[in-house]
């Protein structure tokens, strides 16, 4: 994979003529969301600047990986855009349960690891996938997916309520059942099975939103863009509440342990990560989600009734956060 430094990736996304008119619009919208988020985060951080790596995929397409390191608020964060296409490999066909042919996939993926343990880790992703089959009698296959979830090192109920209410507001603008459905989906997805712990306080997760939904393609596209645009204001509000708080070394160590769990989730369960590793994606872009530093202490148990223990008690499915 060649790394290029250029102002924009547009020219490298050689659109497949078999693809429908959406691909170009999606690529533009997703890039503009990436630009907007990077701008807002740089202003908010006040020190960190995104470093951009443009890359190309040999089989088609490429991406813009943007990493902010050693900021005032963000210790390590990635805001990545990619748009890739090409023949569907046997592995891809099997993983995604699609027929042979060509595929196009584009998305924006974000993970931010803060310096301060009182500021939560946040993740956001929006993505689009479509295939074109040589058999023109078949219906075109396409879908949208995505989600936002929050991983506080210390759970603060007011933040959790705020976070879920904002997500509900975004969802409600598009479909009355989205929040409830996608909140449940996030509880199930962002779950570290071997620890019997959720990754954090959840959020929303959705996948394979397609023509079988009540909304049409334009409306689903609007929804995922709305999720993407909702991300920065929500993060800035919550991070802004805590970024100036002082913290002890013990709190910093707890943050490192919780980051260890984040690593476990991403390497063992996260579908995007596994998919990327298995299909030869750009490793440094995929693994930007891992924190700068993490820790594993054998059989660590926080003191009873400590804030650490209270946080652990809340790492479970089915909590109704938005009331």
């Amino acid at each position: 994979m060649a790394l290029l430094r250029r102002p924009s990736i547009n020219s490298s996304v050689r659109l497949d003529p078999n693809m429908n008119r959406y691909t170009e619009e999606i690529v533009e919208a997703f890039q503009s969301i990436q630009d907007d988020i990077c701008g807002q985060l740089e202003l908010f951080d006040g020190k960190g600047i995104f470093k951009e790596d443009l890359w190309e995929r040999r089989e088609g397409g490429g991406g813009r990986t943007r990493i902010l390191s050693d900021g005032n608020v963000i210790e390590k964060g990635g805001v990545n855009f990619s748009a890739v296409h090409g023949p569907i490999s046997a592995q891809l066909a099997n993983a995604l349960k699609v027929d042979p042919g060509h595929f196009f996939a584009s998305g924006v993926s974000i993970v931010l690891h803060p310096c301060n343990p009182h500021v939560p880790i946040i993740h956001m992703n929006i993505r689009y996938f479509e295939t074109s089959s040589p058999d023109s009698s078949k219906d075109p296959v396409w879908w949208f997916g995505g989600g936002i979830d929050l991983t506080p090192h210390y759970i603060v109920e007011e933040d959790s309520r705020y976070f879920h209410r904002q997500l509900k507001t975004i969802c409600d603008r598009h479909h009355h059942s989205f929040y409830n459905e996608f909140k449940l989906w996030a509880d199930d997805y962002f779950y570290i099975k071997h620890r019997e712990e959720t990754r954090g306080i959840g959020g929303i997760f959705f996948d394979k939103l397609d023509h079988k939904r009540e909304l049409n393609k334009d409306q689903l596209f609007d929804f995922v863009c709305d999720v993407g645009r909702g991300f920065a204001p929500i993060y800035k509000e919550i991070a802004g509440r805590h970024k100036h708080k002082s913290f002890t070394d013990q709190e910093k160590q707890w943050q490192l342990l919780r980051r260890g769990r984040y690593v476990e989730f991403n390497l063992v369960y996260d579908r995007g990560t596994k998919f990327g590793l298995e299909t030869g994606g750009r490793i440094e872009s995929i693994l930007m989600s891992l924190p700068e530093y993490a820790r594993w202490t054998y059989d660590f148990k926080p003191e009873e009734n400590s804030r650490e223990a209270q946080t652990l008690d809340l790492l479970k499915k089915g909590i109704d956060w938005h009331h």
Copy 2:
């Protein structure tokens, strides 16, 4: 899973009457290897003492997890023994390609993460597995597996030669083709595919050694015990060469980055870890292999011709180390 503190696990390994006479012998030999290694490592470290957790598995058997933290040489190390048995679940049958019935499995697993970046990480495992089928007309299924591999943060050719020669000497005592075969197997197994890097300088790896081998069961049992007993002297020799060396902060940071790779291997590829996580093993015993601290820096590249770059150049398959 209940944690018990007792001098020995023997009484909790309720042997299945269907098992053959080997199980008891193996349990005793493996426990004695664990005892011997822990004793040697404590003496060698001079500060760290193993903390023991005895645990029981609800469906049958249990283990002795022993962890040494914050030693003079060893920052975090685990020397674990387990002996578990019970009905073969559908998942187990599928993963191991065995028929329904009962299984018995026992092993010793070791990972040592040193304080000093000039001392390598080392791993050793020996294991035995057998099944008994309700259908007495079927041949009994049993096998031995195991291996030792070394992960230097800085590769030293003399150490690598010493390490591989020692392994070859052990192998040669049992079968003239073992070293060549198991060295190749280790190159393939201890490989971080998404990084296109071996985990370290390899070693030996072997699995499913059974009646189809030229050696009989007694002889294979002797071989794995010899591997187990070979571990401590080899580690003490290599660690002893470097444990007093001074190191810079830059070298310490490089160690943290290499540990990040170790985490990637163990969570993404290691069969024992995956198997343990999927089948509800004792998590803290399985994940003792993860280092106390690890690091991921986006797209880190060592300076050309630095010792770090030289080490990266040697992280590949097919190097003939023992000459």
